[in-house]
C-alpha cells in the first residue's frame, strides 16, 4: 500500500512539471532553434540567432513554466536570470523584454509580433504560432 501511495505521489509530482516548448511567430523564417541560440536571446546576450535572424523574445513571469524553462535551457534560478537581464539594462545595452503573465498572453504576443519567440507549456493551446524544436 505504501508503495502504491509513493508511486501516486511521484506521478503527481511529475505531473506538476510543465513540458516547455519554444514557439515563434509563423512568419519567422526558421523551423528549429539551437540550445545556444535559446540561451543567448533569452538572456540578452544577442538580439539575433546564429544565422542572423533577428528575434524578439517574450518572457513569462515566475511560475512553473518559467521555472522549467530556466532549468532546462538557461541553467539559472529566476533571481540570477533577472540579475543578468538587469545588468544589460543598467549598462544601457538592452531593454528588458515583455514579461507576460500566462501561456495565453505569450501565444497572443508571439502571434502578433513578426519576430517574436517565447516559451509555453506544451499542453496550452498554440494554434496561431509555430513550435520550434530545440536542437
Amino acid at each position: 500500500m505504501k508503495k502504491i501511495v509513493g508511486v501516486l505521489i511521484g506521478l503527481c509530482a511529475f505531473g506538476a512539471h510543465a513540458q516547455v516548448i519554444v514557439i515563434a511567430n509563423p512568419k519567422l523564417d526558421i523551423s528549429e532553434i539551437g540550445r545556444a541560440d535559446v540561451y543567448h536571446v533569452f538572456t540578452g546576450g544577442s538580439s539575433a540567432l546564429g544565422n542572423g535572424t533577428k528575434v524578439l523574445p517574450a518572457l513569462q513571469n515566475d511560475g512553473k513554466v518559467e521555472d522549467e524553462f530556466l532549468k532546462n535551457y538557461i541553467h539559472k534560478p529566476h533571481a540570477a536570470f533577472m540579475a543578468t537581464w538587469r545588468s544589460f539594462v543598467f549598462a544601457g545595452q538592452a531593454t528588458l523584454p515583455k514579461s507576460l503573465e500566462s501561456d495565453a498572453e505569450v501565444v497572443e504576443f508571439v502571434a502578433t509580433h513578426p519576430n517574436a519567440i517565447g516559451y509555453i507549456d506544451k499542453a496550452s493551446p498554440h494554434a496561431d504560432v509555430k513550435v520550434l524544436p530545440v536542437k
Binding site: 544577442s46 538580439s47 539575433a48 546564429g50 542572423g52 533577428k54 524578439l56 539559472k76 534560478p77 529566476h78 533571481a79 540570477a80 533577472m82 540579475a83 538587469r86 545588468s87 539594462v89 543598467f90 549598462a91 544601457g92 545595452q93 531593454t95 528588458l96
Partner: protein
C-alpha cells in the same frame, strides 16, 4: 571646451529623446522602462581611514541610489540614461550622470552610441557602476578605483560596437571603438594625490581620448580574452596653490592606457584576471612668488588582479581575489604600492534583495587613502571589512 562638447552631445540626446515619441505611435510603443537600485554599506578598518570615511571608528558613509530610464521607440533605436546619488566618505552627496546615450543598433555586428557613453576600456568597466551585477563589494581597486569610477566609466562622445562571428571553430570577436572627452571632478581619486601635495584643481581635469577594445570569445565555451587601448591627448587646466592664492596651469601630456584581460566561466566557477597601465606625466606651472615655476608631476600606475568565484547555491556565491597596484614613478615605500587580498560572499534573498560581506587585507597605501582624513599619518597595512545591503528593481 569640455562644457561645450558635453552640451553638444547632451543636446543630441535631448533632440533624439524629443523626436523619439514622434516616431513611436504611442507611449506603449516606446517600451519605456524604469529600473533602479540602492545600496547601503558599512565600512570598518583596523588602522587607516579609507575612502575618505572615518572607517576606523566604523562608518556607514557609503550610500548609493541609482535610477535608470530606457526607451525603445524603434526596434533599432534605444535611448537610455542613468542618474546616481552617492555618498562615499566625505565625497559625493550629489547627483551625477552615469551615462545618457542614444543607440542605433543595425544588427549584432554593428551599432553606434552617442552622448555620454560608457567606455569599454576593460573587462568590467561598463559594469563597475552596477553593484547588483557582481558578487564583490569592492571591485579590485588596482584596475577599478571606486573614487575614480565616475571619470573612468563614461566619456562624452561616440562609440561604434559589434560582434563578428568567426565561425564555430574560432568563436566571436566583440569590438568597440570610441572617442570623446572625459572629465575628472575636482574630488576624483586621480586628483587626491595632487590635493595631498597642497594643490587645488577647482575645475577638475578633462581630456580628449580615443580608443578601442577587442574581446575574443574563444571557441572554448566560457573563455574570453581581451585587449584595449585608450590614447589620451594633451590637456591643460587651471591649478591653484597656497589655499587658492596662486593660480597656474596643470598641463598633462599624451599617454596610452593599455589593458589586457582574460576570463573563464565554467558552470558555477568563474576566474578572471586583468592588467592595466596608466603612465601619466604633467607639468605644473605657477607664477612667482612660487619658488619653482615649473614642477613635473607624474605617475606610472600598473595594476593587475586575479579573481575566482564559485556559486555555492542558486542564491549564495563566494570568492576571493588578489589585487596589486604599483606606481613606478613613486619613491620606494608603502605609498608606492597596494597589495590587497579580498575574501567575499554574496547572498540573494530574492530577485530584489541581496547582501554582501567582504574582508580585505591591504598592504601598502597607494590606493583608497587620502592624507586629510588620516592626519596622524598612514600605517603601512590595514584590514577592511565591508557589509553591504542592496535592493534592485
Amino acid at each position: 571646451m569640455i562644457n561645450a562638447f558635453r552640451s553638444s552631445f547632451l543636446g543630441v540626446i535631448a533632440l533624439v529623446t524629443v523626436a523619439a515619441p514622434v516616431c513611436a505611435q504611442s507611449i506603449e510603443d516606446l517600451n519605456l522602462q524604469f529600473h533602479g537600485y540602492a545600496t547601503q554599506s558599512f565600512l570598518y578598518t583596523t588602522k587607516n581611514n579609507i575612502l575618505t570615511a572615518n572607517s576606523s571608528d566604523g562608518s556607514p558613509a557609503w550610500t548609493e541610489a541609482v535610477v535608470n530610464l530606457s526607451a525603445l521607440p524603434q526596434p533599432k533605436l534605444r535611448i537610455s540614461l542613468q542618474v546616481r546619488y552617492s555618498i562615499i566618505g566625505q565625497l559625493g552627496n550629489a547627483f551625477t550622470l552615469d551615462y545618457a546615450a542614444a543607440e542605433y543598433k543595425v544588427n549584432d555586428r554593428f551599432g553606434v552610441r552617442f552622448g555620454k557613453v560608457k567606455t569599454p576600456s576593460s573587462l568590467y568597466n561598463t559594469q563597475q557602476d552596477i553593484d547588483p551585477s557582481y558578487m564583490w563589494s569592492l571591485l579590485p581597486q588596482s584596475v577599478y578605483p571606486v573614487l575614480s569610477r565616475n571619470s573612468l566609466l563614461a566619456n562624452f562622445g561616440g562609440l561604434a560596437f559589434g560582434t563578428i562571428p568567426l565561425g564555430e571553430k574560432f568563436g566571436k570577436l566583440v569590438y568597440a571603438g570610441y572617442g570623446g572627452q572625459i572629465s575628472l571632478a575636482s574630488n576624483d581619486g586621480f586628483i587626491i594625490p595632487i590635493k595631498d601635495a597642497g594643490f587645488g584643481a577647482p575645475n577638475g581635469y578633462g581630456e580628449t581620448l580615443a580608443g578601442g577594445s577587442l574581446r575574443w570569445k574563444t571557441p572554448i565555451p566560457g573563455l574570453l580574452i581581451g585587449a584595449a587601448n585608450s590614447h589620451d591627448f594633451t590637456s591643460s587646466v587651471p591649478i591653484t596653490y597656497d589655499a587658492g592664492l596662486i593660480t597656474g596651469t596643470f598641463a598633462g601630456k599624451p599617454f596610452n592606457n593599455q589593458t589586457f584581460s582574460a576570463s573563464y566561466d565554467h558552470n558555477k566557477f568563474s576566474v578572471a584576471s586583468e592588467y592595466t597601465r596608466i603612465p601619466f606625466s604633467a607639468l605644473i606651472s605657477l607664477p612667482a612668488p612660487f619658488p619653482y615655476p615649473h614642477v613635473p608631476y607624474s605617475f606610472d600606475n600598473r595594476g593587475w588582479y586575479g579573481m575566482a568565484s564559485y556559486k555555492i547555491t542558486g542564491k549564495w556565491a563566494a570568492g576571493l581575489y588578489n589585487s596589486q597596484f604599483f606606481n613606478h614613478a613613486a619613491a620606494k615605500g608603502p605609498a608606492r604600492y597596494s597589495k590587497d587580498w579580498a575574501l567575499s560572499t554574496r547572498y540573494d534573498f530574492n530577485e530584489y534583495l541581496y547582501a554582501k560581506a567582504e574582508q580585505h587585507w591591504i598592504d601598502g597605501t597607494a590606493v583608497l587613502y587620502d592624507t586629510w582624513n588620516n592626519t596622524g599619518g598612514l600605517q603601512p597595512d590595514t584590514h577592511l571589512t565591508i557589509l553591504k545591503m542592496g535592493v534592485s528593481f
